[in-house]
């Protein structure tokens, strides 16, 4: 960013553009139609375009472009690369996250580095005064958080309010009152604002690290919203009685409606509901008028009030709305969104009022935002109770908003896609899910997917639904597209995928899935491993596939072993042992298979009948009676009922010597006795 000083003397300040009527016209195909450009140009109309004579020169219209237009045009040429890690991470194998935990950790680390740097700069501003950038970059210079004005004056009070120093402002206000100077109403009101917004506490400084997880997490939504305090009230800040805000409010000689309004809003925010309603009554008594934000807060207060029944609460809300209309206060989007949010608490009773509210909103021309639709969905699909009959309102909603591009209008807008996909998953409707996903990809709507956990939830549900309902080729294409560049699958998602493969008879993909699972941090998930092994071991397969399966099984076995090394009490599930042994046998890795038998004893797990029969087959195939007897001994050691049958088989199929026959006989007879002999048998077997 070198200063282009030399060009100034030849400064061609091009003022040749005509004084044009600055009308905004949308640029559509002015230049050759195949060239793309960002939609941020403004095109003023030009005068004198009607050419009559040939001498008249028509200067073409000058376009004025947005300052990021070029970059936006370039950005539109780049699409997501499914094989690459997201751009936010450093492109280094060590620094690319492999699971959602890691991804969150890395992003937090990056942000914390920036915050630490900013913190140091602001702590020692005198060392960071050198400014070589031209033009000047204000955001890189240190910021000043300490008040500069030291004397007791209203200007000092204003400065402290601006710097959001709660205690300092209150002290300054008290000092001003003691000194006898009157504080203007405007300043008093802004002080009240500060106190009411932060609930008479200092504003939290490290808000980057506070995950404002709203308590409306869908999977854990158990309807306890009435009792839990939401994250709105700043992590449990409640309104203390007789705090500074109330005191100062009482001290202001001539309160206007704004003072009342901000007090009411603060009280509702910090859950002093009864006081808020009382203050509203006082406001009405003083013949003042509340603004729309206050009404929104009062609606919330009415709904949160615990002591009343749902119908009474709804009637109170209607009363408030009527007062609003009577006082000619125009409702805004927040009004209706608040109503819908509150109606969710009323569960089934709230459905009809919810629809009425929605229609009212449309009737007076307020465009619903994504948060509106989210609340409606939550209202109708809150408890996924099929016995009540699931509503079909989601179809209405999707028909209404397909193709629409949204802008953020409500802080809850980013909850829509999560709830919509949850409903699609519940209804098992893939078409609807595609519709929702299409809406997500329209325009800039992808930004409404929300933070990490919400994105993961959305894609998990989407992908599980695909596994359930879609053809396997399409599912695998989605898998390649989404994983891992968009989300990291949970083990349950992978199990769903495995079951889809099973249904579609594409078990050859399983080793690949296992490899991927290891990459995404599911190496030690026993349910996933059991599922994989079970699917591989269930049926016979062509030899190459069998070999691949055996390799996979060996890999899984090694993970179990490494897990053992850490734990004091090793624990291999019986199923896994069975499957691994079978897979080894079928692939011809007989030695390892026989070693597995030893493991059975070590972990005190019982081999399955099928397994023992296969061992017997393998012994037959390799024509070794010793092995066959081993099998029988093992069966005897565990006192399995199949021992008899195996013995018979050995006698029949193998050529064994007399001693072996006797040994076998010894084995079988004690096993037909009671179980107490099994201990001695085990010691025999070893």
């Amino acid at each position: 960013m070198a200063a282009a000083a030399t060009s100034r003397c030849l400064g061609f300040r091009c003022r040749l553009c005509l004084k044009l009527r600055g009308q905004r016209a949308s640029p559509c195909g002015q230049i050759s139609s195949c060239r793309f450009y960002s939609g941020s140009a403004t095109l003023p109309k030009v005068e004198g375009t009607n050419i009559t004579g040939i001498e008249e020169v028509v200067i073409p219209r000058k376009k004025t472009w947005d300052k990021v237009a070029v970059l936006q045009a370039l950005a539109s040429t780049v699409s997501r690369d499914p094989t690459a890690a997201p751009y936010a991470f450093q492109d280094d194998p060590y620094l690319i996250p492999a699971s959602s935990m890691e991804s969150r950790l890395f992003l937090l680390a990056k942000k914390s580095g920036e915050n630490a740097a900013k913190f140091i700069i602001n702590l020692h501003p005198k060392y960071f005064q050198k400014d070589i950038a031209e033009p000047h970059i204000p955001c890189l210079m240190p910021e000043y958080f300490e008040p500069q004005i030291e004397d007791i004056s209203e200007a000092a009070l204003k400065e402290r309010i601006k710097l959001k120093k709660v205690k300092a402002s209150v002290d300054m206000f008290d000092q001003l009152l003691q000194a006898g100077t009157t504080v203007s109403l405007e300043t008093s009101n802004s002080l009240l604002d500060l106190l009411c917004y932060y609930g008479d506490r200092e504003p939290s400084t490290d808000n980057h690290f506070q995950q404002s997880e709203k308590s409306e997490e869908l999977e854990e939504d158990t309807g306890e919203n009435d009792k839990k305090s939401k994250a709105d009230d700043q992590f449990g800040v409640t309104w203390r009685a007789k705090n500074n805000a109330e005191r100062i409010f009482a001290l202001i000689p001539e309160k206007n409606s704004y003072s009342y309004c901000t007090m009411i809003r603060g009280m509702v925010k910090h859950r002093a509901l009864v006081q808020a309603l009382n203050l509203y009554a006082e406001l009405l008594n003083n013949r003042l008028q509340a603004d729309v934000y206050t009404f929104n807060a009062l609606i919330e207060a009415t709904a949160l009030n615990m002591n009343e029944k749902s119908e009474d609460k709804w009637n109170n809300i209607l009363e408030l709305l009527k007062q609003m209309a009577a006082q000619k206060v125009k409702p805004n989007l927040q009004t209706f969104n608040n109503i819908l949010k509150c109606l969710r608490r009323f569960h089934a009773f709230g459905r009809l009022p919810g629809l009425q509210t929605f229609r009212e909103m449309k009737a007076i021309g307020i465009e619903p935002s994504l948060a509106t639709y989210h609340h409606v969905i939550q209202l109708f699909y809150h408890h996924e109770n099929p016995s009540k009959g699931s509503s079909r309102i989601i179809y209405d909603i999707m028909n209404e908003i397909t193709g629409q591009k949204f802008t953020p209008k409500d802080p809850d807008d980013d909850m829509f896609f999560q709830s919509a996909m949850r409903v699609c998953s519940f209804l098992r409707d893939l078409e609807l899910a595609y519709q929702v996903h299409g809406l997500l990809n329209t325009g800039d709507n992808w930004k409404f997917i929300g933070p990490d956990h919400r994105r993961n939830f959305y894609y998990s549900k989407f992908f599980s639904l695909l596994c359930l309902m879609e053809q396997i080729d399409v599912t695998l294409k989605w898998y390649k597209d989404l994983v891992p560049s968009v989300f990291f699958p949970r083990s349950q998602t992978l199990i769903d995928l495995l079951q889809a493969l099973d249904v579609a008879n594409r078990l050859e993909v399983i080793p690949q899935i296992w490899k991927d699972s290891k990459e995404y941090g599911h190496t030690f998930r026993s349910d996933l491993k059991e599922e994989i092994l079970m699917l591989m071991a269930r049926d016979q397969h062509p030899p190459e596939l069998q070999v691949a399966f055996a390799d996979c099984a060996a890999d899984i076995k090694s993970t179990y072993e490494s897990q053992d090394a850490r734990k004091t009490a090793p624990d291999w599930p019986a199923n896994s042992l069975n499957c691994i042994a079978v897979l080894f046998l079928r692939a011809g890795r007989t030695q390892e298979a026989w070693k597995m038998l030893g493991l059975f004893r070590k972990h005190n797990k019982i081999p399955g009948n099928k397994l023992l029969n296969e061992f017997m087959d393998s012994a037959k195939a390799s024509n070794s009676p010793a092995q066959a007897i081993e099998v029988v001994k093992l069966a005897g050691a565990f006192s399995l009922p199949i021992c008899e049958a195996l013995t018979q088989r050995v006698m029949a199929d193998f050529a064994i010597s007399q001693e072996q026959k006797e040994a076998l006989g010894n084995l079988t007879s004690p096993t037909s006795d009671s179980d107490s002999d099994s201990d001695s048998d085990i010691s025999e077997g070893i």
Partner: protein
């Protein structure tokens, strides 16, 4: 006399129509479904209900013939028939009669307003069920919520229909139907004179929250550069060398043609030569603003003014 004969007439017709098919009723109706479809939990008197339905159907067809003429009043025939039904049914006669009449009025208005109404729905049963609800409210007020919980704005488990029709008709359900009727479109959209106030703390924080809704990690390098440009850390493309530099609005010719400022100096002589060299140098100087250049020349003028006596000694004219 007339009344009694009417009564018996209605009673007989009621008995005739008891066996009428429910679907016929529905097909005949062109009245839009009101979204309040309470599924009552008392099916015991369905037979009586059907007969009432049939009667009402028959009576409804009468206003359908001449819909335009009647505005608010109902035909006396209807009123008489309504009272007959009220007598027939075992409920409170006054309530029933007033309910019936109210519903008839309502449906008359609705049917006029919506000539192109879609599939006929079960409005008749609505009348009945509404009556039922009102009745039970007086007797069993406590169980009212139980009835209400059966609210189901989708009537798909009431009748089996093709799914596309369901979806289409239900689409109307979400958007069309009763609203709160508290706010008035005109009152809301009229432009009130709003005083310009600086955004309060609440507004600023709300705007910050809104901006946070759309926050997503950057998807590619260009998005990062866009973010930097918005922060002010990066030059704006296409690069304008003079970005952020205004030169106080002065033009290039003001920098170069500085002879204008020499008009107070003598037109000939060594001073003129000197000043011309000064202006030549200044015109090539890119680092000074026009104001500074003019000040420079001013300084020379003051200097020469002060040194008048030395100049006079050497015979150089200044003024």
């Amino acid at each position: 006399m007339h009344e009694i004969s009417k009564e018996t007439e209605s009673q007989e017709s009621v008995k005739e129509n008891t066996k009428k098919d429910l679907l016929d009723i529905i097909k005949g109706m062109k009245i839009e479904l009101s979204t309040v479809n309470v599924q009552t939990t008392k099916p015991s008197s369905t037979r009586q209900l059907k007969s009432v339905e049939a009667t009402i159907n028959r009576l409804q067809k009468a206003p359908g013939d001449a819909p335009k003429k009647r505005t608010k009043s109902l035909s006396p025939e209807l009123v008489a028939a309504a009272s007959a039904i009220a007598d027939f049914l075992p409920f409170d006669k006054q309530t029933t009669k007033s309910e019936l009449l109210r519903q008839l009025q309502q449906h008359e208005e609705v049917s006029k307003a919506q000539k192109n109404g879609g599939r006929a729905k079960i409005s008749v049963s609505n009348i009945i069920s509404d009556m039922k609800v009102a009745k039970s409210a007086t007797i069993r007020a406590s169980t009212r919520p139980v009835h209400q919980i059966q609210f189901d704005e989708g009537s798909d488990d009431y009748m089996s229909q093709k799914t596309s029709d369901v979806k289409k008709s239900l689409r109307k359900n979400m958007l069309k139907g009763k609203r709160l009727n508290i706010f008035d479109l005109k009152a809301v959209t009229e432009e009130t004179s709003e005083t310009e106030t600086t955004p309060s703390l609440w507004d600023i924080e709300f705007a910050k929250q809104l901006a946070a809704v759309n926050e997503q990690p950057l998807q590619n390098g260009f998005a990062e550069m866009i973010q930097w440009t918005k922060d002010g850390k990066l030059w704006e493309f296409p690069i304008n060398n003079e970005a952020g530099f205004d030169d106080e609005g002065s033009e290039f010719h003001e920098h170069i043609f500085l002879d204008i400022h020499l008009k107070d100096f003598p037109k000939q002589g060594p001073i003129r030569h000197f000043m011309e060299l000064v202006t030549c140098g200044l015109s090539k100087n890119p680092y000074l603003s026009v104001k500074q250049k003019i000040e420079h020349i001013e300084w020379f003028r003051n200097y020469f003014n002060e040194k008048q006596d030395i100049l006079k000694e050497n015979g150089i004219e200044f003024n």
